[in-house]
Amino acid sequence: MRTITIAPKNAFRISVEAENISTDKFAPLTLSQINSLVVWQGNRQKTLSDLFTVEGDDAPATTEETTIKLIGDYSQVKRIGEGMTAGVVEVQGNVGMHAGNNMKGGLLSIAGNADDWLAREMRGGKVIVMGNAGNYLGGGYRGEKCGMRGGEIEVRGNAGAYLGEHLCGGSIRILGDAGDFPGAANQGGTIFIGGSTYLPGAEMSKGTITVKGEAKVLPSFLKTEIVQVDGLAFQKYTGDNVDNGKGELMVGVGSS
């Protein structure tokens, strides 16, 4: 197992785009090659070593055997772990936008909070956030029909608005509250929200959304029966009927 540890040299005022910080990119490279990978800060093209210290084993390894540990504040660093297929990226603090974009495999774990577009267009692998996540978690790109297509995301805290927009597969689990419009245009993925939310499942055609807490439900959902899951009562709805959707929405029936 090869572990590479990276830490920012300074706090970043202008955000950094660092899609090269990924297990796939690091795996075949020596430390000095990793040091010279390109990162961008605004319109300035820089090397990884201009902005970060890089330490760890020098010898290349397979992607599966590569672990990247990110120490310090990455809240202004975007696109970490983009497209990774295997291995582990471990963020010990907060992470910036677009972490795990288009991720296909491996594990991205974030000890702090994640900014917007975490795991955008994710296809596989697993993302765990111990803190909160921003807007568009597991969402898509503007104008695309599909967001996340596969894999698993778990957020222990709260998530922002529009999570799982255009979800085409995979599962998202939020233990806290979720912002407005979770699972909009869901086409087959699974969403669980431990807390409360607002207008889940707008225009969903397939898939399931479960809200344990309270949720304002759209007038275009059809109320069906009360079901018991793990000893808790849920009101079941089907929809979104504006589009003859066959999605399933379950909202907790006041546990109080």
Binding site: Y141, R142, G143
Partner: protein, 566 residues
Amino acid sequence: MIIKGGIVYDPANGIYGDEMDLFIDKGRMVEAAKGEEIDARGLLVMPGGVDAHSHIAGKKVNTGRIMRPDDARIGTEPRTAVCRPSTGYTVPNCYAMGYRYARMGYTTAFEAATPILEARHTHEELEEIPIIDKGALTLFGNNWQVMECVRDKDLTKLAAYVAWGLRAAKGYGVKIVNPGGGEAWGFGGNVKSQNDIVPNFDVTPAEIIVGLAKANEMLNLPHSIHLHFNNLGKPGNYTTAIETLDLLKDLKPSRMRQVVHVAHMQFSAYGGTSWRDFESKAPAIADYFNCHNHATMDMGQLLFGSATTMTADAPLEYGNARLTHNKWSNHDIELEESSGVVPMVYNRKMLVNAVQWAIGLELALLVKDPWKVLMTTDHPNGSPFVNYPEVITLLMSKPKRDLEMATLHEQVPKRTTLAGMEREMDWTDIAIMTRAAPARVLGLEDKGHLGPGADGDVSIYDLRPEEVDTSLDHVLVKKALANAKYTIKGGVVVSKEGQILATPPGRTFWVDAAVPQADTDRLMVDLEEKFAKYYSIQIANYAVQDAYLPHAQIIRAGLPVLSEVA
């Protein structure tokens, strides 16, 4: 400039693969010249490519961009010392259009449909497309003034309006799209045949088409009418195509060219009564073209993958959007037209798409005379223009067609005749379909050939016609066609092996046709009333100002006596 030792295909001048030197001076082909030498020994040399039907500029193209950031992100190339940035695949930005045409060896492309009212926008975009020469066809088929002239059988007033409209739009020719259907769409309807009455106007599409064709010939325009049939894109529509063509067969052209050019024939060569029993009627259409000489067509070839459909046929687009459950833009233009834009993905395993793919190829292979068939994909309706090398290699290689066929829905051989077709085109056929014929069909005298006086537009490919087996080596051929070894535009090397070296601005062609003042005077009475009552802008602000065409190339036409005086 001297281009040395190329194997030249210049069918307009009877040159079919002869080894010869070419000379360019002051941007034009000449008999002899000095200067920069380009080594083309043994390589394929043709005139710069000419695209006679492509959607490259204007409101609907930009609408396609605005509604498709998903498409824009596909083709991103950063700015360089020479180039502005590129984006997009089916709806590229203006810069990418110029660069990508030039890379393939194309030097001219015509925008296929512009309403007069929105021509200013079209010219803003055309001017922004670098390198290539351009022009825009002007829409007349759903125009109130046109329909009223046709209803009143006032052909001279109609001709005066066409001339006025072309001048106002700085347009090149007469485009007719689903005549009458666009007006009916103003209240959500359509016409179902060329003999339906257009609601509120008491004319039929057939009358509109014949009237405009007669006006077109009366004005002696360089291009014929350019027609998108009624019922386009619907099963069983080949009868509409043949019946409509038959309306025009006795008309005399005013120039040595066709009387009607049919846009993207593939979309109008359908049999069957529904998508269920949908089948190719390409053989019937090809027969008609083989037996008649008044019509030309462009293929409108469909390729698998992503496309963005965009057309003035707005009811068709609404149907597309409902059928595919895709996003839908519509844009009706007061007193003139309607239009729509819908993204599309063509799938080789979908029977309908696979049959459509085959129909385009059948048409090109079954029509005996390549001068009657232009190679297009109706960019970006059938596929983006960057895929022309794919279409060309399909036409040149039976093995390639067989390879493709093997991956399609298994019903294709039953619904089309493509499987049994042995014909493989040669470089002369291709030079005609992509250069000589589009120039002749459009009436561009200095394009599509390499004779003295022609524009110094030359493409040179890294292919040795005397060695390469275009049937077997289709992979190599496709690769070579995608990036010309040299593309020369007006005597300047603009692209070399896929790298853009220079970005001179292209010219924009438009046609100024002379008509008797008395006819224009009669017309203006009508138009002034229309602007006072119906248009939402003043007549003074209608016509495209000269400022929008800093590189205009005016072609004079009109009543012969008048144009001579002018």
